[in-house]
């Protein structure tokens, strides 16, 4: 798993994108985050359908994933608008929803296998966010 996180952190900012804007690093990270959250949601639904996640856990997790995605929409909008203060606010809110999803949802899953699968996604998200925080564009602060 460490190698996956390392590979994402090292390689994606180098991908051959056209027309790089001032917030290109943040855009790449936002893109990675959307893919990982989508994969996390699909994994959660698979685990629920397999009976390894209870209905109660499923409701909590999907509510948390929905909040992360709504924060992702806000981050996407902020990056599109290109206003540094808005990007800062949206990024902080996004980080908070990921933290909440982990503490109130993933860490409460009783099935160890399911918890491990979703923890992997959460850790990947954390690594992606840390990569962004280490490469924040000028004017965007934490």
């Amino acid at each position: 798993m460490y190698r996956l996180v390392l590979a994402i952190a090292l390689t994606l900012p180098l991908a051959g994108c056209a027309a790089r804007g001032p917030y290109h690093a943040a855009v790449v990270v936002e893109h990675d985050a959307s893919s990982v959250v989508q994969a996390l949601q699909q994994a959660e639904i698979t685990e629920f359908n397999a009976g390894r996640i209870s209905a109660s856990e499923h409701q909590t997790l999907e509510a948390g994933i929905q909040k992360v995605a709504l924060a992702g929409v806000a981050l996407n909008n902020a990056l599109s608008a290109g206003v540094p203060t808005s990007i800062t606010g949206a990024l902080n809110a996004f980080v908070q929803t990921v933290t909440d999803l982990n503490t109130s949802g993933v860490l409460s899953i009783k099935n160890q296998q399911s918890q491990q699968i979703l923890t992997t996604s959460i850790n990947t998200l954390k690594a992606i966010i840390a990569n962004l925080q280490a490469n924040l564009p000028t004017g965007v602060t934490q």
């Binding site: 798993m1 989508q38 949601q41 994933i65």
Partner: protein, 70 residues
């Protein structure tokens, strides 16, 4: 970091974790040749799909349809 270094990293990952390498390549291909605006536009669709899917998952199951009586 040049292209060769990038390929070396990916080859190393591919040998050790084929699934992880596949995900990384998939993510890179999703960015290739796109402007930031195009990436954000595509991601907006992904985020919206996640919200819609979560909303559907949070709906209570529909009650069974009662039998039609004549």
């Amino acid at each position: 970091m040049n292209v060769q270094t990038l390929l070396n990293i990916l080859n190393g990952v591919a040998e050790l974790e084929p699934v992880a390498a596949g995900l990384v390549l998939s993510l890179i291909n999703g960015l290739k040749g796109k402007s930031d605006a195009e990436i954000l536009q595509g991601d907006a669709t992904v985020w919206a799909a996640i919200v819609t899917s979560a909303h559907a998952q949070l709906q209570p199951p529909a009650p069974p349809t009662p039998p039609i009586t004549q």
